[in-house]
Symmetry: C2
Subunit: 232 residues, 2 copies
DNA sequence: GACTTAAACAAACATTTGTTTTAAAATAGA
DNA sequence: TCTATTTTAAAACAAATGTTTGTTTAAGTC
């Protein structure tokens, strides 16, 4: 099929896309060095040479994969935030948005708009100081932190910048941990997969910790009997 | 020199140990697949064949490295806990031990009894579901969680098992995040290395969040004007 | 000193790696 | 149809990989 002007890198429908998806999954699971182009080609149902034909090199394919994932995540975050956060943000709205944000993030570990390996790939990249760290900083880490800090500031105007940043890291750290340490946690819980019940208790806990620490709860430290907050 | 009975694996003083240390550092930094035995040998100042001579294979060297690191970490944790936690634990002692624990863990990111790459290597292993996950579970993840949960239970007898576990993950998550996401955090902070000042504020924050959430602080939620909390 | 053995080393090994080449197949436009 | 271009496929490539070999060095034993 010789007609696509190759202007839009995403206009490819077939092999190229399959390669990106296969490579992404393998990179996320085993890392760059432990994944061979032959594995990628096999999983994508393509020829070995296809990698170099479409991406010129394995390393370039890696960059393309990260680019692709970042694009997807950015798009989803945009719509999600637009979905959660009203245009003009009142303080109670910010509090509610914060609650929904925590809930959504944790719940994405069992079901999400995006494939599970997206986040794992980014986690991998973040830990290794690879050249892809820059785009990840600009398109994922920084905007995520920024969005969270904005919500926190709107919910708690009395917070200083430093306190806000520390809170953002505390919330993110608690949440990410369940993704990062998924295997050990599941092993100790003797589960094969995160259960809805388990994640619900995690959400309730992190929410309680956060809101209590921020002074946003009505009943200071007392823990709710049933967790009756639903929303969405 | 043919005289060492090879009974004690740690009795080796020279090449074998250097190989383990070099390999560990490289594995921790770049991962298994991105590290070649030649790199390892070069860094250890040894011959390429030394790896196979002493460890029979690269993969076996990897196992040996993890074993070694786990041993070191276990030993340090034992003495550290014995140092912190009194034999018979009163509630106020548990609270204080908890405080010291958080402080020590965070501060280990800038200076520690153990080389920095130990924890990074374990973090790497935890994220990839490698065969070394089992020993890591038994010698690191589970005992660490257990120790933390014991302290929490002693400090807050009213906590249920599930609440205790959730708190352990919350504390661990917050702490580990600063190791896991070290690069991005430092980039956004425009620092080359964690500063004492920065880590002090992190310790203060995590401690405040934890103690406030657990109801262990004297002044419930009120935040200090200047962050005058000192301790230690 | 003869003998043994652990260790180190350089060289070569076989395999796997990413990549290139070459040609055939597929597709679109004339 | 013919032609041009893109895509696929098999094979081969050079480089790098993990590993093995044969030899040498040094230390301990008789």
């Amino acid at each position: 099929m010789g007609r696509r002007p190759k202007l839009l890198p995403d206009s490819n429908d077939d092999t190229r896309q399959r390669l990106i998806l296969a490579a992404g999954e393998l990179f996320a699971e085993k890392g760059f060095g432990d994944t061979s182009v032959r594995d990628i080609a096999r999983m994508a149902g393509a020829n070995v040479a296809a990698v170099n034909y479409h991406f010129t090199s394995k390393e370039n394919l890696y960059l393309e994969v990260v680019r692709f994932v970042l694009g997807q995540m950015t798009a989803v975050r945009r719509t999600a935030m637009a979905d959660i956060v009203p245009a003009a943000l009142t303080q109670p709205q910010a509090v509610e948005a914060l609650r929904v944000l925590i809930d959504r993030e944790i719940r994405s570990y069992v079901s999400s708009d995006l494939p599970r390996w997206y986040a794992r790939l980014i986690l991998r990249c973040i830990m290794s100081k690879s050249p892809v760290l820059d785009p990840i900083m600009e398109q994922a880490f920084r905007p995520n932190r920024q969005a969270l800090m904005s919500l926190l500031k709107a919910a708690c105007p009395h917070l200083s910048d430093e306190e806000t940043r520390l809170w953002a890291y505390s919330i993110t750290g608690q949440i990410v941990f369940y993704n990062f340490a998924r295997e050990p946690i599941l092993l100790l819980a003797r589960e094969k997969e995160y259960t809805e019940k388990f994640l619900r208790s995690v959400v309730a806990h992190i929410t309680r910790v956060t809101f209590s620490g921020l002074g946003l709860d009505k009943h200071p430290v007392r823990r709710p009997k049933k967790q009756a907050g639903k929303k969405s």
